[in-house]
Amino acid sequence: MNYSLVLLLADGDWPQFVRFWSLRDPAVRAALAGVLFLGVSSGLLGAFIVLRRLSLLGDSLGHAVLPGVCLGFLVAQAKDPRWIFGGALAAALVASWLITLIGRRSVLKPDACMGLVMSGFFGIGYMLLTRIQQLPFGSRQSGLNQVLFGQASAISDRDLWFMGVATLVIVLGVGLAYKELTLTSFDEQFAATIGVPTRTVHYLLMTLVALSIVISIQAVGVVLLSAMLITPAAAAWLLTDRLPVMLLLSVLFATAGGVLGLNASFMGRNLPTGPFIVVTLSGIFAGAWCLAPQHGLLQRWLRRRRHRLRAQRENVLKSIYLAAEASQAAGGTPPAPIAVSLARLAGYRDESPPKLRAALRPLVRRGLIDVAAEQVVLTPLGAERAIEIIRNFRLWERFLTEEASLPVDHTQAGAEQLEHILSPDLARELEARLSDGKS
């Protein structure tokens, strides 16, 4: 759904799509490789960033690299990746150091420190950027205007080389310090008490994050690059409660979002890649949010619906049994087969015949009843199930009045709800407790 929206925005066409996936175009190959590197590095680090509640820090550092990029460009007087990456890395490190410093030397809380540094750096960066564009060597062809929203097709082989090395460093760093990163993310104080150098671990993580930010400037652009860190990891956290799985999913989402976004931007004739990647990632997040197994919207809706339908079915079954019982003059257990006429059942349930027929259909499908010649007959399976439900209901009702000592008129609703979810084990236990009380 989200992806078709991207296609629509991209005004895509089929030949471009084929050209993209045929991988004949070297620019496409470089862009794809770059986006894969990004997916791995930011997917991995993003998980730790989100778990440590440092999402805002990722965003701040993302914006803060702009002046570094511009200064690097000014020094090299061209788009030389060594200077651009170096400048960006330096700016990110200075910014993270400043954030820590302001926090420690004032009463300001981290969010304010990050906001201050982020906007200040971005402001300086943007001033430099506009100034550069007025310089002779800073014309449009310099490609520097793409740092705001990214242009993956401008990734050169030399850029790619840097990105590959940075990704390798990040993967090795996370792999080596996995235990320390996990422990300090979960319980930093405990980590400190067993001698883990928590500050060093924090700075290591920040350095790796700065690296991953620097290599995403080309493809995603400084304005939106924090999404590369945060969105895939956030989506992954919704889907699992195991850290290794979360890391895996996060990397998967980041690379998938990168590749699909790249494809969409390519079909839109090389529009900036950043927004496309971010929109795709947001789509993945929305999907995860709806489908999440524990608290997902879809799961919750399905669970509720399943329970409601089951309760409806069981209530119908119960009413068939009770109506049949009532129509036996003598009362007691009705002789097999248990049957009641449709008209009588409709009267008993106070329901119109068409509505009753609709309510009976799911029971017929499940082989619990047969409807023939205006008679509803419980199958052996249906009779067994009906007796069980009624027994559960009565057990629960008695338990509530006798053990929980609720007045009878308070027990009905509770019993009506619970009879449907009472497991056989629990029913047996209830029975045992009630019979204990009697003897």
Binding site: Q189, I194, R242, L243, M246
Partner: protein
């Protein structure tokens, strides 16, 4: 340093106390919250740390664990600086100090207890896992090993923290309110566990809030209210005067309770 072979090894005359706190002052933002604390805790006891809210109990525990900068004074563990005795001390933080939505299982959390022994970058092995499974067993949580930690009740979370502490296998433990918010059955199980640890000769320093149960649980008590009010064996320290001094005028019902307890002990 060399020594002639026939020179008998010089044993220290007295065994250094497990925890010695000397003239300790701790401040937050220049405002001291603990003043000149001087105390040496005896070995092999369950020692209660009591005092009103804001008395600095957690601060004392954290300062001993090296989690807070010390303004003046020093702390020694087994006669040596903490940095050289880290493995001798286990820590049970307050339950609320971590995010229980973190994507790890109960077994993962307990395994963190052995990380201190492993050292940097080394991964726990099968023996470590088995040892941790045993620790979980001891707190009665073995069946929860694969649960995600957000699915635990408050008392179960406390037990997981205790299992992690057991996995540390230390001689000294500092515990910040291990009984907070647990039901009577869990509280009984926890105190049983602490007593078992004591029987193995371990020293336990436990922050506690309930004056009713305190005299029954602790061999010694530290009464704290920013300053050290009293420290000593429970029978000497858990008296009406000391409680009054510790809790000030705020404590009328509780001091009456203490009076009764003291009465039964006379």
């Amino acid at each position: 340093m060399t020594r002639p072979a026939d020179d008998p090894p010089r044993e220290p005359a007295v065994h250094p106390p497990p925890i010695e706190v000397h003239d300790l002052t701790v401040s937050y933002d220049k405002k001291p919250v603990l003043w000149n604390i001087d105390v040496a805790f005896p070995e092999g006891q369950i020692i209660g740390v009591l005092g009103p809210n804001g008395a600095g109990k957690s601060t004392l525990i954290k300062a001993i664990m090296g989690l807070l900068p010390i303004e003046s004074g020093w702390v020694k563990i087994n006669g040596r600086p903490l940095a050289r005795e880290r493995r001798a001390v286990g820590y049970v933080p307050q339950r609320e100090s971590v995010d229980w939505d973190f994507p790890v299982t109960v077994a993962d959390v307990v395994l963190m207890g052995v990380y201190g022994r492993l050292g940097l970058f080394r991964r726990p092995g099968r023996a470590d896992r088995e040892f941790c499974a045993n620790c979980l067993e001891q707190v009665g949580m073995a069946t929860y090993a694969d649960r995600q930690i957000s699915q635990l009740s408050g008392g179960q979370r406390q037990r997981v923290f205790l299992a992690r502490a057991l996995a540390q296998d230390s001689r000294i433990y500092l515990m910040d309110e291990p009984f907070a918010g647990v039901d009577a059955a869990t509280e009984a199980a926890i105190i049983e566990l602490l007593r078992a640890m004591k029987r193995q000769g371990r020293t336990l320093l436990v922050v506690h809030h309930d004056l009713q149960t305190a005299p029954e649980y602790f061999d010694s008590m530290l009464m704290l209210n920013m300053r050290l009010v009293a420290f000593g064996p429970t029978r000497d320290v858990f008296t009406t005067q000391v409680l009054h001094k510790t809790y000030g005028g705020r404590l009328t019902i509780l001091s009456e309770a203490a009076e009764q307890v003291a009465g039964t002990r006379r």
